[in-house]
């Protein structure tokens, strides 16, 4: 599997955001799907996260003004969900499932190993900006426990050795 790295825009570069023609085209296509403009909010945030790597206050303001919502409303939505990054993420975000089946089928060992190998705790990034560790709740792949989601991809039936191999490969790819 070749997980695509996240390329996060620098905070300065997206302090003020103007949605360009490519984005505008995709937004218009999205708006056609729903009877209200507000309904396009989640998909539009996904578009932005794909493009900029994360949702900065500048992105929220741009989205709000495009959809005719207040920035406060958009921020309320962004902060409710767990998958929108509100700070620049690392290139690879390791989302380790900590719910029951994973926790009892090797997930806790993976967490200990990752913390040791990367020298970081949950919510933290390695100094080189390569990896970020996140504890998540059930990923819906319990039969293949333990599961780690890296960016958009699921890695299943892991153990310490196979996870190390994945990380080595990702870290080596520059």
């Amino acid at each position: 599997m070749s997980t695509r790295p996240i390329v996060a825009a620098s905070p300065d570069s997206i302090a003020v955001v103007t949605l360009d023609a490519t984005m505008e085209e995709r937004i218009t296509e999205l708006l056609r799907r729903y009877p209200t403009t507000r309904a396009a909010l989640l998909p539009m945030l996904w578009l932005c996260q794909e493009r900029y790597g994360w949702i900065s206050p500048g992105v929220m303001r741009a989205v709000a003004s495009r959809l005719g919502e207040s920035p406060a409303f958009v921020e309320g939505v962004v902060s409710f969900y767990t998958m929108y990054h509100t700070r620049p993420p690392a290139r690879y975000v390791l989302q380790v499932c900590t719910t029951l089946s994973c926790a009892y089928c090797g997930g806790r060992e993976l967490v200990e190993h990752l913390k040791g190998r990367l020298g970081i705790g949950f919510g933290e990034k390695t100094p080189d900006g390569e990896f970020q560790l996140m504890a998540v709740q059930c990923l819906g792949a319990c039969g293949d426990a333990p599961v780690v989601q890296i960016n958009d991809d699921y890695y299943e039936n892991l153990d310490v050795t196979s996870l190390d191999k994945v990380l080595d490969e990702l870290a080596g790819r520059r």
Partner: protein
């Protein structure tokens, strides 16, 4: 039992429309379009299909609640927010045979006279959202979606809508809020979604597996479907087994099979030859069952009779080595994280339980803790909250405490009690903001 929902699993290119058509795909839709929408609903009602998302409500009745005299539009929502711990069946269906879902959506939309359908899929399922989009595109090209489907004069657009990470959005009204671009706060019912649903219009919300059953019912008839399983608990069901078993995975079995058969025969027993200690029969929101209760039949009514629920069919097996206080704490963490925060009993209660259980795990249990846990759960039970999450955390926690009470008491016996903090009482001397004093 012959494979129905999982018949394509293992076939090469099982996801493509060509494979699906070769297996008799879209015959159900063809047949449905020759019938009236009400006759389609009647057929599903006669099959006694019950919702596979967790509640087990008869699907035909749900469709029947959508008003016929409404000027429209009406919406059909496919709930693919699969996030109940222990559940991974919808992903299996989408991975191997997404056209079943697309065809089910088309038939259901026809039955409730909806011209737009949305598939709400959890945000993490990026790959499976893509698979569904490809299947929709194939179906559109094949004339099974879009304008004037199969020349029958019925139009339908289907869109995939990704969530963004919130368990609560699997609850149908929270899902609708999220679809509308808001935070996933469940709505008060009534009005029910059938009358006031997505965008304020009549809406039916059905689970992926439920919709995947529909094409088979249409193609092979309600009597065939009703002949599988037991009366009122009919049809094939996907059971997801995870935890300490030799062969975890998704198994398609008739409703009414016993949990013993699922665990011992199909999953080849508990890992490492160890003994079964407990299992969750339908995701962690269902009350836990002990090893002594393994002969219960896995269907909606038998589980209800045994004081638990089949839920989504997510069976989590725990062997004799697990510490039930730790299990309880892990469960509490999930609900404390996933409570949307609207209702006090759930928001505060789940957090409070988590704090107490974490403290017990760390060895600082207090004698009153088990009773306090039960009291918190009691205050959050019996539908006191807007959505069922209040019950969803209270049922597993209280059942674990009740059924494994001695483990909790033992924790206290060996604990080094923390010094009891005396909270200082702060007399308020300053002005009271907002009162102009």
């Amino acid at each position: 039992m012959e494979a129905v929902l999982l018949r394509a699993r293992g076939l090469p290119e099982s996801r493509t429309i060509a494979t699906y058509l070769a297996a008799g795909g879209y015959e159900g839709l063809k047949k449905a379009l020759t019938m009236t929408p009400d006759a389609v609903t009647k057929e599903v009602l006669d099959s006694e299909l019950r919702g596979r998302g967790g509640a087990g409500f008869p699907t035909g009745r749900k469709w029947g609640f959508v008003p016929k005299d409404h000027p429209g539009p009406r919406y059909l929502i496919c709930n693919a927010d699969e996030s109940e711990p222990g559940t991974f069946k919808d992903r299996e269906i989408i991975e191997h045979d997404p056209h079943q879902v697309v065809e089910g959506i088309a038939i259901a939309s026809y039955a409730i006279r909806a011209n737009t359908a949305y598939i709400y899929i959890r945000g993490e399922f990026v790959r499976w959202a893509r698979i569904l989009e490809e299947a929709i595109e194939e179906a559109r090209k094949g004339g099974f979606l879009g304008k004037n489907i199969l020349g029958g004069g019925f139009d339908l657009d289907v869109w995939v809508h990704r969530g963004a990470g919130a368990y609560i959005c699997g609850e149908e009204t929270a899902l609708l809020e999220s679809l509308e671009g808001k935070r996933g706060f469940p709505r008060l019912k009534p009005p029910f979604p059938a009358v006031v649903g997505a965008f304020g219009k009549p809406t039916a919300v059905n689970n992926v597996e439920t919709l995947a059953c529909v094409p088979h019912i249409m193609a092979r008839g309600a009597p065939w479907f009703a002949s599988i399983g037991r009366p009122r608990n009919t049809g094939p069901k996907l059971f997801c087994v995870s935890g300490h078993v030799n062969r975890p995975g998704v198994y398609e079995l008739p409703l009414g099979v016993t949990f013993r058969e699922i665990i011992e025969e199909h999953c080849q027993g508990v890992r490492g030859g160890r003994k079964l200690k407990a299992y969750f029969p339908g995701g962690t929101s269902a009350p836990i069952m002990t090893a002594a209760e393994v002969d219960v039949q896995a269907d909606f009514d038998a589980c209800a009779q045994a004081g638990t629920m089949l839920g989504s069919g997510g069976i989590i097996v725990l062997d004799e080595t697990v510490d039930m206080v730790e299990v309880c704490a892990t469960v509490a963490h999930f609900y404390a994280h996933e409570s949307c925060g609207q209702c006090t009993p759930c928001r505060e209660g789940a957090d409070w339980c988590m704090d107490i259980l974490d403290r017990m795990v760390e060895g600082h249990g207090r004698p009153a803790d088990p009773e306090t846990l039960l009291r918190i759960c009691r205050f959050s039970s019996n539908g006191i909250t807007i959505c069922p999450l209040g019950d969803a955390y209270a049922l597993p926690i209280s059942s674990i405490v009740n059924k494994f009470r001695e483990e909790f008491d033992r924790r206290i016996g060996t604990a080094s009690p923390l010094p009891q903090k005396k909270l200082p009482v702060l007399p308020w001397t300053g002005p009271r903001p907002g009162f102009g004093v």
